[in-house]
Amino acid sequence: MQQLMDGIFLGSIYALFAVGYTLVFGVLDRLNLAHAAVFSAGALVGIEVVTRSGLSIWLAVPIVMVVGALLGLIIERVAFRPLNGRHDAHFAGLISSIALGAIIIALLQARYGPDTTRFPPEVFPKKRFEFLGATVSLLQVLILIISVGLVVLLTWLVAKSKLGRGMRTIAENPHAASVLGINVNRVTSVTFAISSALGAAAGVLFTLNVNTAQLGIGHAVELKGLAVIIVGGLGSLPGALVGGVVLGLAEVYAVNYVGSSWRDMVAFGLLFLILVVRPQGLFGARKKREV
């Protein structure tokens, strides 16, 4: 039971991170590889906000999301928009976002240094309770609620709202979308802002969960986030959620039943198997639209 719970908690953070990836991919067909840097930035900025101003974590999360959203706007404007209309925009965007990610990390290093930091211990009440034989902390429950809540909210937004309709139209065909009077640039910017706000929030929650943060934490989840969205089905929001939880559970069970040194091999091996059986991913039904 403890494994199940921990797997779900871990998975919900992966999911929150992966949702940002998949949102941008679903709308624009581009992978934003600066997302990991936004994750690190979220964690470090969150720590600074809390330690410096003494704000509670409840206020810090929205602030970090705003910072993340700003970063998202910058990423879109600097790394993606200038490449629009190029034949190799797909690949060029990949490279330019890696470059921008490296720049963000360098700026973070200049400001925060390479040392490990963490939230002050008293920032969050250390409340624990027993639940079906597992020990669960209040923090973990909140992480789960926030992650799932944000994913559900986002799914609803994409499916029902005007903005969501705009996103989906652009996903179908950007040219048709602009003909229909949708402001493509604006919708794209907003998509990036939302995506990065979620990535930054994931950084804060991850840091709270493991009680440590340094520049490289983005890298640790980058590959996992990619794996999650590929398994979930590229561009699918529920797919990212399920994929995240599958990966989280796979890691926890791998450690407990196979061996701690084999964790990544088992977890990624499982993902590999899923892809062999179902190449489009668990929820990847949209593949045909690319033709």
Binding site: Q2, Q3, D6, G7, F9, L10, T116, R118, P120, P121, E122, K126, R128, T135, S137, L139, Q140, N209, V210, N211, T212, Q214, G216, I217, A220, E251, V252, A254, V255, N256, S260, S261, R263
Partner: protein, 390 residues
């Protein structure tokens, strides 16, 4: 302005270097015989100053350690010179946490007639600098090098800093006795040389004490999420969790263990012996047990005096690095007075004879491998501080 200051500082330090070099070479050429004194022990009288030189990392990555070492060494020399009979002339230089700079300094010390070299701060610097001293037949005393193989460099290389291999068995023994351990789970990061050697020491100490290791779990030094591994620990229900990890991993590990309800005592290796661990883990660190060569709470008389003097002179509390540097000077003084000679060969011979010397680290000896022998202090985190485990 800043640049001017810097270049002025650089010029000044070059001048100082030249002056120091001139001064001491003049001394050693004319005064080889006057470093040998008359009498012995407390009555020993040596007419010339015995030149002692130290290379510490005063700037660079290890700068925070070197500053305390320099302070403590100066304090020790001041105290020892006040005793009379033998006086020391101390030179402290900065290796900038750079082995290349360290080698330069060691070459200078070997050539300028220094009787004994103290330092350098880091083990990996020592690996490169100590062969210089060995080739130049100049004794060197490491006061903070804990890596394996340092004293194996040669018979002129000594140290007063306990290795992790020496601390861990004592920690395990004390923990077993106090906590009545029967079976434990061991965790270590298996992609780091220091933590892996710590793990080996732990495993053999546990075996010797007759404690069963019900599970050995490994992780990577870059891991931050230990929930999954700790689930397994929880399932095993051990009497204690024994961990070899660097401090960066120690903090999240301890916090997460407490979070998911692993409430057994945690016995840590050298990586846990840091105020940063307590600060980072907060109340989760309570009850963590870790061995150390020195603790400010040790109530031996020398240590209490050292704490007071240090605080009075520098308005700061000494750390283990400072204490070991201070003890280093006490050890050197003992060796010099034993043979009543400040000659390199005599100091080398007499350092090996240091036995049960009362120092700030407690009773201290040097063994046949030129390594430190002393009782380690087993500490437990209590009320946010390292206290001595009773």
């Amino acid at each position: 302005m800043r640049r001017n200051l810097m270049s002025a500082g650089a010029t000044a330090s070059v001048l100082l270097l030249v002056l120091a070099a001139c001064g001491s070479s003049g001394e050693s050429s004319g005064g080889d015989s006057s470093l040998a004194g008359s009498g012995s022990g407390a009555d020993c009288k040596i007419s010339d100053d015995v030149p002692v030189a130290a290379a510490f990392s005063l700037t660079g990555a290890a700068g925070q350690y070197g500053a305390g070492q320099k302070n403590a060494l100066e304090l020790a020399v001041e105290k020892l010179n006040a005793v009379g009979g033998v006086t020391y002339k101390l030179t402290v230089e900065d290796d900038q946490t750079d082995p290349k700079q360290g080698i330069q300094l060691f070459e200078k010390f070997v050539n300028d007639g220094t009787s004994i070299i103290v330092g350098p701060t880091l083990s990996n610097t020592a690996m490169q600098t100590d062969p210089v001293a060995q080739d130049g037949k100049t004794p060197v005393l490491g006061v903070s090098n804990t890596a394996a193989g340092i004293t194996a460099i040669g018979d002129y290389v000594f140290r007063d800093s306990l290795t992790e291999d020496a601390v861990i068995p004592q920690t395990i023994k004390a923990a077993k006795e106090t906590l009545n351990l029967k079976d434990v789970v061991v965790m270590y990061s298996n992609d780091d040389a220091f933590t892996e050697s710590g793990y080996k020491a732990m495993a053999s100490a546990l075996k010797k004490e007759g404690v069963t290791i019900s599970e050995t779990l490994t992780f990577s030094k870059s891991d931050t999420d230990f929930h999954a591994i700790l689930d397994k620990v929880k399932k095993e229900k051990p009497d204690a969790l024994v961990v070899s990890a660097l401090v960066d991993a120690a903090v999240p590990l301890v916090t997460q263990a407490r979070e998911i309800g692993v409430d057994v005592p945690i016995v840590g290796g050298n990586g846990f012996n840091s105020p940063a661990m307590i600060k980072g883990a907060g109340e989760a660190a309570e009850g963590v047990i870790v061995g150390a060569a020195w603790n400010s709470a040790a109530d031996n008389e020398q240590n209490q005096m050292f704490l007071k003097d240090y605080k009075a002179k520098f308005n700061a509390d000494p750390d283990q690095f400072a204490a070991q540097a201070y003890a280093g000077m006490q050890v050197i003084d003992n060796a010099v007075r034993r043979g009543c000679s400040g000659e390199r060969e005599d100091i080398k011979t007499n350092l090996s004879k240091v036995k049960d010397l009362p120092t700030v680290l407690g009773d201290f000896s040097i063994d046949e491998n030129r390594d430190a022998v002393q009782t380690a202090l087993v500490q437990v985190v209590k009320d946010g501080k390292f206290a001595i485990l009773q």
